[in-house]
């Protein structure tokens, strides 16, 4: 299977690597086991570039670029880890913790949460940014699943998987700025949705305890999104 894309060489953290011109910086990093933290990114979904955790330094531009959507180029020199990048990544995680009510100890996703894992990996034990403690609703109207806005990080994985893979486009985002939140159809209870197929893909790809299966207690909600790259590949091969 040939994609016909040009092959390029580039430097990541001082070492030489090869890649294809249609790959992103993150693709090449992952192929070569170079760890770059991500949150909104999920293999199998379109790039979003919004969480800013995967920002990297690229020689020749003074702007930091998101590795998940930036295509590689011949001679590109990328730095994935620097004190400045580490600081900003830590602040992104702190900002997310401050934004909504992430109380790990009582969360069904405790121990299986990507936000929590990021914090652990960065040795975050407390945050320097004031907590906002917003009052947010909880939607348990669906027969099978729950939506807890308190745990949502607005990564829009649910929106993308529903639109791009399931094809239902049940999810979308309403409001703007810090008032943004994911909504079902035209902002109605999940249980009343006409478009939702209850396939559960959104729940599987949700990185936190925002979308969970009913019947799970604290720390019991384990998720598995490994089906996704396979599904994307198989759907792609049919078109």
């Amino acid at each position: 299977m040939s994609t016909g894309a040009t092959v390029i060489t580039m430097k990541i953290d001082g070492k030489d690597f090869g890649g294809r011109a249609d790959e992103t910086i993150l693709d090449v990093c992952r192929e070569n086991k170079i760890h770059v933290p991500t949150l909104c990114f999920l293999e199998g979904l379109s790039g979003w570039g919004a969480c800013r955790l995967c920002l990297v330094e690229v020689k020749g531009t003074n702007k930091l670029l998101p590795a998940c959507v930036t295509k590689v180029a011949e001679g590109m020199e990328v730095t994935t880890h620097s004190p400045r990048l580490e600081k900003y990544r830590r602040m992104v995680v702190e900002m997310l913790f401050s934004e909504r009510n992430h109380i790990c100890s009582v969360c069904v996703s405790n121990g299986h949460c990507e936000l929590q894992s990021l914090a652990v990996a960065m040795h975050i034990t407390h945050i320097n940014i004031p907590y906002r403690y917003p009052k947010l609703p909880f939607d348990a109207s669906n027969d099978l699943f729950r939506l807890d806005h308190n745990r949502c990080v607005l990564c829009t994985r649910c929106v993308r998987v529903c639109d791009e893979i399931e094809g239902a486009h049940t999810w979308d985002v309403a409001g703007r700025g810090v008032e943004s939140r994911v909504i079902v159809d035209l902002d109605q209870p999940w249980g009343d949705s006409q478009s939702c197929t209850s396939c559960g893909k959104c729940v599987s790809v949700c990185p936190t305890g925002a979308l969970t299966r009913k019947g799970t207690g604290v720390a019991e909600m384990e998720k598995d999104d490994r089906f996704l790259p396979y599904l994307t590949r198989m759907r792609g091969s049919r078109t």
Binding site: R52, Y88, V92, L96, R132, V173
Partner: protein
Amino acid sequence: MTVDELQQIGEMEKASRRKCPNHLHVCVAAGCMSSQSEQVKEAMEGQVKTQGLEGKCKVKGVGCLGLCAAGPLVSAPERNFMYRGVTPADAAEIVAAAAEGKTVERLHCPMDVPFFRRQKRIVLENTGIVDPERIEEYIAADGYSALQKALSEMTGPEVIEQISRSGLRGRGGAGYPTGLKWSMVAKAGSSPKFVICNADEGDPGAFMDRSVLESDPHRVLEGMAVAGYAIGADRGYIYVRSEYPLAVQRLKIAIRQAEKLGLLGNGIFGTPFHFKIEIRLGAGAFVCGEETALIASIAGQRGQPRPRPPFPAESGLWGAPTLINNVETFANIPPILRNGGDWYAAIGTEKSKGTKTFALAGKVSNTGLIEVPMGITLREIIFDIGGGIPDGKKFKAVQTGGPSGGCIPEQFLDMPVDYDSLAKVGSIMGSGGMIIMDETSNMVDVARFFMEFCMTESCGKCVPCRVGTVQMHDLLKKIIGRQASERDVSLLEELCDMVKSSSLCGLGQSAPNPVLTTLRYFRNEYDVLLVREMEAVS
């Protein structure tokens, strides 16, 4: 439409104008209309009829006459005279005097003052002179001759060559070289291509683009058509905010008139060039002024930016190569083509060519719309043209570039106004809003105001802007409430740095600018509000 027909329309218009020796031009742009200029115009027209002065005096509506502070304005061009603060009750007296070739001294607005003398009008050359709702008047003022010249005498690359030579840089704020942008879109191989005019002017206190659209809409259409020809696009969109109903209405009239005369549409000037323009209305989101969010909005998507690259020149509207320029940039195109790129390049400074329009607002005597050559100093703009600070107050700072810009203190007033100098002091040229503040302004509160604006206008897509603007706003509120300590200011500075460096689009990347510049130049105003660590609210 042929060249001869175009010239004929122009000649007929000029001849009909010569038939009447006295004209009265009533400003019917939004500024004066909000102080009843429409009624003034109606009263004057009524007086011409009741006094039986048809043929001796003609009343017409024109675009912005500039000195909005003194509105409603009426000008008598043959007498080189301007009236200020006109009410419908003054109509009879003014009309009677005009018919005899006289003026009413009581309402005189002197024109031999720096506000008018120091300006150089290129974008605004027809503003306040032509009736924005009549294409014939624009044609009589050499309108559409640049398009005709481009189509019949020049190739696309030759048009771009002239734009590049002119040194014109994008007037939307970032200052990207216009010729370079055009050549990039021209080079993009695929078709179709699109031309977009960004008329989503959203900076608080800015009204340059609105004034241009309300006063001389055809010049923007002509600039867009020239761009379409140069880059090989046959369709253009004007994205204008729906808060500008008058601009939208005049644009609609202008497009209809241009289509009727065959100046837009198929086979323009008998050449194979087609160009159509459609209007798209913004629904009131500041972020839609960001080009990728604007493009998403035109395509019917949620108005959110996406990471660049790819830039719109490569992949824009519906994935097609797209040229996107601001209103004022397009408005500069016709005169550049008429007079040549070198003519334009002779105006301004070495790196910033031509003129720039500014909207003067805030604590300045002459609030209004001005156009000045690049390189003029801030002091000349504020104190000569703007007439200084009213009520004997002292100047404190000038805010350029809206919520993305910075507050510039007195010590930099003699700095030339150009893209690079403004960037050096932590501000930006921006689209041209200029808010002047006097000694009574509290700079911490000014910073808080702009941060509140960015916070409510953040689209919420990327984390630094969505959460960072809220956190910064809360910290500023805490400082103003005398509940913050030195530590909070350090956190504020850290957040500024992080949000500036890691946000997805220009909104977040520039949101900290008002805070950073006020911290840099007015630190003492922060310091006096701080309390000791122990007293601070945690």
